[in-house]
Amino acid sequence: MIKDISRSALNLLMGLILAGFVFTPKASAADGKAIFKQNCAVCHSMTDQHLTGPGLAGVMDRVPPGKWLHDWIKNSEKMIKSGDQYATKILKENGGATMTVFEGTLTDADIDEVIAYLKKGDATTTTSSTTTGGTTGEQVVEAKGGIDPLYIILIIIVILAILIGILRGVRNSMSAVAEHTPDEELAKTFWQESRDWMASHRRFIGVCCIIIVLLGMRSCWNSLWMVGVYYDDASDKGYKPEQPIKFSHKLHAGDNGIACQYCHNSVEKSRHAGIPTVNVCMNCHKSIQTGPQYADKEISKIYAAAGFDAKTGTYDLSKQNPIQWIKVHNLPDHVYFNHSQHVVVGKQECATCHGNVKEMTVAEQKSPLTMGWCIDCHRKTDVAMEGNAYYDKLHAYLKNKYKDQHLKTFTVAQMGGLECAKCHY
């Protein structure tokens, strides 16, 4: 009897456990979060921030009670077509942008879980908007302001000269006071003294002057070579102007790994690599509204240029204004240079001419861009012809032309890359 009771009790217990296993609702908070992340977070933040859709902080207090939110998530367009009052209101508030229809993608249970998650809120997501720009800090080296050392030296020289003048004046007036004891040494002026000294050391002075003149001529000659050249080989320093927006190539191309071609997307199709238009910036910065170093200070300049209102997520075309970027790599107008020819046909890397831009906070010229530099590369570089459809015909012709020399590879120069009219016409 007791045994039977204990057995049935055991069965009951087992049954309960099994039933609990089958009927316990799935751990809804976690699942709701996962569903939200996959389907909703692209457009809705859990804060007040307006992304593509409105921020969802306090959404449960806003929407009509009952099943409204459930129906809206399921098929928002049907709600709008049915003329629901609140549906038309939020459609208007969001500039007529409709929400994705989730009927067929999300089940009723899924939607309920999302709503449960919305009710509960989430401590971790509410703070996420403050860290949206990412936490990878990077130091932008400020363009050196202050005074040129040359001027400091000049100022020191001037101050010394004034001091000498004052001392001389003091000395002269002293000697004027002591006039009754005329002293040959005292009566001599500074210039007279130095003339006497120079006269007695004429050979030394002569050699010094010749050395100074030669050094001066050398630096003159060197600086003549730098006329119109924006990069100095010796110091590895180039033209590095401060741009209207403190855009960091290091952050974008380096840390975030965005390809050069994403922003400079005409590089493979055109003569110019191109400065990206503001819509390219807005592709990401519509959502990413703060940066790691300057918060929203620099990014707001993009919004000003695009006429974008970050609060409502709308554009005002009448407020658009171009960003006046300063061109760093400048070739004179009498030179023809084609990016696509070098990048697509010649298969050159960006860094070959532009240096390691991924490490630059401020873009800097890293090649002289002189004709000698162009010619040098055209003489040295073997053209990648094999398997390059562009060169098939030329390859056959050149093989025939240079067949006595048994050449395996051809440089740009051997293909006529040094002819004047290739670049100057």
Partner: protein, 216 residues
């Protein structure tokens, strides 16, 4: 006074110092904002309009060189890849004019590596470096709403943008976007066997669908 004997010497020294001074002034490469010395600057910077600059005209108006084209301007040889008035819901009708081949998919992968990977991640899971910094991470291609997205809707989303994503039709031409669609479909995991390559449906710019023999 033996002035005459060393006056030349003095002039010599002064001129040397002056030369060194001039040389110091012309080599301005230490100042990052200065392009350095330009002899005849109009050879470097022409008087013609350059982009992103402002010019004050003779009448006193400020002229911006970066301006939008005249309304209705289209590029030479441009054909709209998406018929006018088509919405996202209608995009299912768009069919890929480029037949599938492993080579095309490879090209699509190269384009993906330049234009998509930083947000959508290597495997299309929305875990790119930029994607992780977005307030909402991009959805994965192989789950949820995107798993069964038609090629037309993929193309439409790339072209016109969708939700947080911006439009890319100005950055990639139609062929490149269709090649991209092939690669995105691979990441969706929908392509188990390559489709029959003997005939493909082609959408002409006018929107009509016709059958065309694939060129091999």
């Amino acid at each position: 006074m033996k002035l005459n004997k060393y006056i030349n010497l003095k002039a010599f020294a002064v001129s040397a110092v002056a030369l060194a001074f001039v040389a110091g002034l012309t080599s301005c490469e230490d100042v990052p904002n200065s392009p350095g010395f330009e002899f005849m600057p109009d050879m470097y910077r022409t008087r013609g309009l350059r982009y992103y600059n402002e010019y004050v005209t003779a009448t006193g108006d400020t002229l911006k060189a970066a301006r939008l084209p005249v309304a209705g301007t289209i590029a030479r040889d441009y054909l709209p890849s998406i018929p006018k008035g088509m919405t996202y819901e209608m995009a299912d009708n768009l069919k890929n004019p480029i037949p599938f081949s492993p080579a095309v998919e490879k090209e699509g992968e190269v384009i993906y590596g330049k234009f998509c990977v930083h947000c959508h991640g290597d495997g299309g899971h929305g875990d790119g470096k930029v994607g992780l910094k977005m307030p909402g991470q991009p959805p994965a291609y192989d789950g949820g709403t995107l798993k069964n997205l038609s090629e037309g809707k993929i193309f439409y989303s790339i072209s016109k943008g969708k939700n947080a994503m911006g439009p890319h039709e100005l950055m990639l031409n139609a062929d490149e976007r269709w090649k991209l669609v092939h690669y995105v479909q691979k990441l969706q995991g929908v392509r188990n066997a390559p489709p029959a390559a003997d005939s493909v449906a082609v959408v002409t710019p006018a929107g009509e669908v016709k059958k065309e023999e694939a060129k091999h």
